[in-house]
Symmetry: C2
Subunit: 335 residues, 2 copies
């Protein structure tokens, strides 16, 4: 099933959305918010599934679903931890700034605790006070967990994944080096991220969801030009079960925890960095990566970071070219 | 006024507590949880204040307040960001492991985004799977904010502080170096922290609360022996307004954000590291610091990290030796 939160108060109002994303029906009587549904998932999930089936059969009152009306599915969450599962991305970015990639990066997930107190809706603008901060998008896959016990194994962790979605993990590249040097993670260089309009249950994804990885091209556009189409199921060094187990090694996780994959990134067929979409490649899921490739190949980065007025679009289409999660589409605004 | 959350469901049940911590009265009709009260503070705070006054005058139904019945005031919060405002502590710990203390540490706050999805109650045990992880306490002051707009100044930020309390920021010292080396902050080395039974409004603190700093000895006991009595108002390089402004530089903060001071630490009168309480000094607010002092003075750390069965107690007493926030008192347990 597919779930969304229509803009309403601090936490939105939970609705079930039809598979084609055209219709919604109110789920308020089952749970007023997505967090409330996740808090009591064993009770609410079966009821929501019945409601979703009724919506498909037009057996319940329904309204047109507009992605612009959607808040983030969890407008404020109790936890957001973002991995770097596509180590190819990390290796490229580090290579370009002359930093080492320790061998451990291929076996021990890199992960940071992010700010979870305010997620942007999929159509909300990206507020950017200062273009000199080097604003970048990062197109990623996320999962939402139920309650996860401390010390869980990577395999067991897969059973605790309740929902799958997309995130634009907005990053301020020029603030990152100073924060990395402190070792304490990202505080100022990671402002609010945006979530896809709709989150879906793993069963809804069929064969795309396998072993804690989601397969399919993550299409990224920059100012309406194709920018990336890397496959999220390829080159994902750590699956979501491994990422969850990493976070839960020393503490339990509460229902509604959002875990990110890190920027999706594929190696080129020849093992090198990706080529631009315009040159037949799979492109990039963040600007830092194309700048890295430009630096490695031509000595200098050419593509600028985001400026006021720029538009970012992130989406995944199914085999019939229908949007699975709806589109994140954001304009960068002064503010 | 003083507020607490009695253990009940995922978020506790909001109560107002008497100044002497002996009595409580239910605040459910004003707000069912502390988060709900913070979400609507302009409406709820005046009502809660009236209730608190009525409780002092025994004009409302009341029950005995037992600190053991208290959950963390915010059992799950949308944000927990911990500063290192007592740069003396950071400098000492770095010195002992031969790491540099950059000059910027004295002007640019060190802060990490912590896991906020599960805070322990003040009497909850500290679960520790492996003693080899090097479990440590960290006694700190915390504040809870209202909604904070992006880009706020340090001075303006002070007006957004709603509550003040204590935290035991449990740390796994032997997992920290590897995570620091990654630069992405703490994921596994900071398990769940414990909050004091009671949080209080700044006005309740009188002259102790001044310029975004709380004055008073933070008394720490280890296995019932005095371990620390550093004054939280001394040597705090960055006040809470500065810490909030640091976190809010590029994004707004949601009501209920918890900001920590970092481990309270005082320099000795002669400017050197603190002496043990048993030798007439102010002692320490974490084991890492005494181990640091031992290493610097004798070549090796002597005091062990916490083991199963050890007890930690953290409290601040007022001038009449009454507990202000109640005591955090935790036993380390296998698990």
């Amino acid at each position: 099933m597919k779930l969304a939160s229509l803009k309403h108060g601090r936490d939105g109002r939970l609705v079930v959305v039809s598979r084609d994303l055209n219709w919604f029906t109110d789920a308020f009587l089952i749970a007023p918010t997505l967090q409330a549904a996740l808090d009591d998932w064993d009770r609410t999930a079966p009821l929501l599934r019945v409601l979703a089936e009724s919506l498909e059969h037009e057996a319940v009152p329904r309204g047109r679903f507009h992605e612009r009306d959607a808040a983030a599915p969890l407008p404020r969450a109790y936890q957001w931890a973002d991995g770097s599962a596509y180590v190819n991305h990390v290796a490229l970015v580090r290579q370009a700034r002359g930093a080492e990639v320790p061998d451990s990066f291929w076996t021990d997930p890199l992960m940071y605790q992010g700010g979870s107190d305010g997620f942007l809706g999929a159509r909300d603008p990206i507020p950017l006070m200062d273009e000199a901060w080097g604003c970048d998008l990062e197109a990623e896959i996320v999962v939402v967990t139920g309650d996860v016990p401390r010390g869980i194994s990577a395999t067991e962790a897969l059973d605790h994944i309740r929902l799958v979605g997309l995130v634009n993990d907005v990053s301020l590249r020029n603030l990152i080096p100073a924060e990395l040097a402190k070792g304490f993670g990202f505080v100022q260089s990671k402002p609010a991220s945006a979530l896809s309009p709709v989150f879906v249950t793993p069963d809804e994804l069929g064969d795309r969801w396998n072993g804690g990885r989601l397969s399919g091209a993550l299409t990224v556009s920059l100012n309406n030009a194709p920018f990336g189409q890397a496959d999220a199921g390829t080159d994902m060094t750590f699956d979501f079960g491994t990422l969850i187990a990493h976070l839960a090694k020393t503490r339990s996780l509460v229902a509604g925890t959002i875990i990110g994959s890190g920027t999706v990134s594929n190696r080129d067929a020849d093992g090198g960095p990706g080529q631009p979409v315009s040159e037949g490649g799979l492109g990039y899921s963040c600007i830092a990566e194309v700048r890295t490739v430009e630096t490695l190949s031509g000595g200098a980065a050419v593509t600028p970071f985001l400026k006021h007025g720029d538009t970012v679009r992130i989406e995944m289409l199914d085999e019939r070219h229908h949007s699975i999660f709806g589109a994140i589409e954001q304009v960068v605004e002064a503010g």
